[in-house]
Amino acid sequence: MEVLPRNTIHHLRCPVLDVVELEGGHCRLRFHAPPIARSSIPGQFVNVRLPGRIDRPRAFDSYADVVEYHKTHPVGEAPFLLARPFGVHRAGADGWVEILFKVVGRGTRLLAGAALGSRLDVLGSIGNGFNLTQPPQTAVLVAGGTGIAPLYLLAERLHRAGSGLVVLVGTGFALPMTLSDSDEVVHFLDKDVTAVIDEYVDLGAVVRIATIEPRKGCHTGTSVDLLSQYLQALPPGERAGKAIFSCGPWAMQAAVAGLAARYAMPCQVLLEERMGCGLGACMACVCKIRQETGEYKYKRVCVDGPVFDANDVGWEARE
């Protein structure tokens, strides 16, 4: 897989334009960051921190400013928060960037509560995005949970590049997007499985959803089930020109990678790992990746990824 040249990582203070609470503890947050909006490619991520309302280092305009600041501000006591990584969900020509996330801990909870107009500390865009040098005829997008978020930017760009889209989504109980029912039945699934996501349908995608708990219109099971049925139903001759793009939890992606290998389909996966710096400097976010020599070595998810070829990932190295 060709590695794209690394771009500048912008460090910006970005005003929050909009925060929308969505079903199931999800949240869509839009902020203003023209250089990031301009340069983001699908699969890249931003590293976001919510500075305390008052308690934060800020840019200084003058020495006097610095002096005044340090008099009243014991900087070491600022609320400590490592940046949180989120895939770029959407980006607009007029300079906004959106992330879509689930509230799972302290950082996401703070972000979900960000006041409109308050400023986020954003580093981005980071990492190598999906390799789109040869857009496939049909892209099969497989998402587990919030894995749906970074895949949307990808779907948009692929659609623009003329690729057809198949979108297979697995979710715990709720999706942060608009669900509808479709009358069209797709050939590789039961006829009862009809739920679609409007945003993807608007891009002309074939969409199907799997849920763990039975739910009307959804396949009861996982996104891996959907993919498995899709691939099984796919005549071998039609595999060419199709490629899989996946994002979600490790175990799910390991299974996706297994299916891709079995059917000899190209597959790119967007990985998640706990990060220190998000800049390639601390070696925290590593993952075993196969080298040209065949050896597996720890590579950094933040700047060597987060997208890797599914074939290269040492899936068994982590449970």
Binding site: T8, H11, L12, P74, F80
Partner: protein, 311 residues
């Protein structure tokens, strides 16, 4: 007042300002150049990632965990080995207008000596920092830095291999840091740096497992600053008698923190964890330090070193 002098000379390690980026938080220095807001000029020196003789894989992930005002890391010295650093990395770093400090690690005294020998061949290098917090594989894994004799052995071995400025980096996980500092000086250290991380653990109560893949790790960030300040103060008492400068670190996140370290006795200071949550912190610290010196009419940062008046 005119511009105060920020340049410092630590036993031959001449820096245009006293800010060093801490080992392990800046890789081999190349990553931050992509980051908007980060400026090479803001830093006096880079302490490179800890390097061993052979390449090391490092520990299992997760390798970091956030804690109250701090973080734990257990990177486990992932590095490509001394030869690769000397051959591939250092030449590229020539482009940086800043001092380069190799941070070396090992499991035996011989390994330390050999790593130093390899680095001694690199013309780009300005100093070697010996990370004596590493476990001594021959003695059941206790850190070299936990014992004055073992610490001295490591420093003496490196001293044989390297004629330039030699920094011994002390661990805070000891009952009394003073005799260890003294032993390192006696063994040939030109400079002492401290603190390395405090040992710690975080447990995920949902899974009842340690969050870190390696179970425990090293605590850094603002949480540890009071511990670091006291140890710098203690080590300074010993080091100044022997004219050995001290590099202070541990939780520096702003100018005021750096100034605390200088007052406690640090001739230079390192910034580590704060880089992760604020890549512009170096500029802010240098600006704030300059402002403090002007406000207090101190024309040379060196005059602030060790000016603590105890109660």
């Amino acid at each position: 007042m005119s511009e105060p002098k920020l340049a410092v000379d630590l036993a031959g390690l001449e820096m245009h300002n006293p800010l060093i980026v801490a080992s392990g938080t800046f890789a081999y220095g190349e990553e931050f150049i992509n980051v908007g807001g980060f400026k090479n000029e803001d830093i006096g020196a880079i302490a490179l990632k800890g390097t061993t003789l052979e390449p090391r894989e490092g520990n299992a992930t997760p390798r970091v965990a956030e804690t109250a005002s701090g973080m734990l890391n257990s990177i486990g010295l992932q590095n490509p080995g001394a030869d690769a650093v000397v051959r591939d990395v250092l030449p590229r770093l020539r482009a940086f207008d800043t001092r380069l400090i190799a941070n070396i690690a090992g499991g035996t005294v011989e390994e330390y000596r050999e790593v130093a020998r390899r680095f001694a061949r690199a013309p780009e290098l300005d100093a070697i920092e010996v990370n004596i917090s590493c476990p001594n594989v021959r003695r059941g894994g206790a850190a070299f830095g936990a014992d004055p004799t073992a610490a001295a052995d490591v420093v003496a071995a490196v001293r044989e291999a390297w004629g330039g400025p030699l920094i011994a980096k002390l661990t805070p996980n000891v009952t009394d840091i003073a005799p260890i500092a003294a032993a390192c000086i006696d063994a040939g250290a030109d400079i002492l740096s401290l603190i390395n991380t405090l040992r710690g653990m975080v447990i995920d109560t949902a899974t009842r497992r340690p969050v870190l893949g390696n179970n425990f790790g090293g605590l850094s960030g603002p949480a540890v600053k009071p511990v670091a300040i006291l140890m710098v103060h203690q080590v300074y008492q010993i080091a100044r008698e022997k004219n050995v400068p001290v590099i202070g670190m541990g939780g520096i996140a702003g100018a005021n923190d750096a100034i605390e370290f200088i007052i406690a006795g640090a001739s230079a200071f390192s910034v580590g964890t704060a880089l992760f949550w604020n890549p512009s912190v170096c500029r802010q610290i240098i600006d704030g330090l300059r402002a403090y010196l002007i406000e207090h009419e101190i024309d040379d940062v060196s005059k602030l070193v060790g000016t603590l008046k105890t109660n």
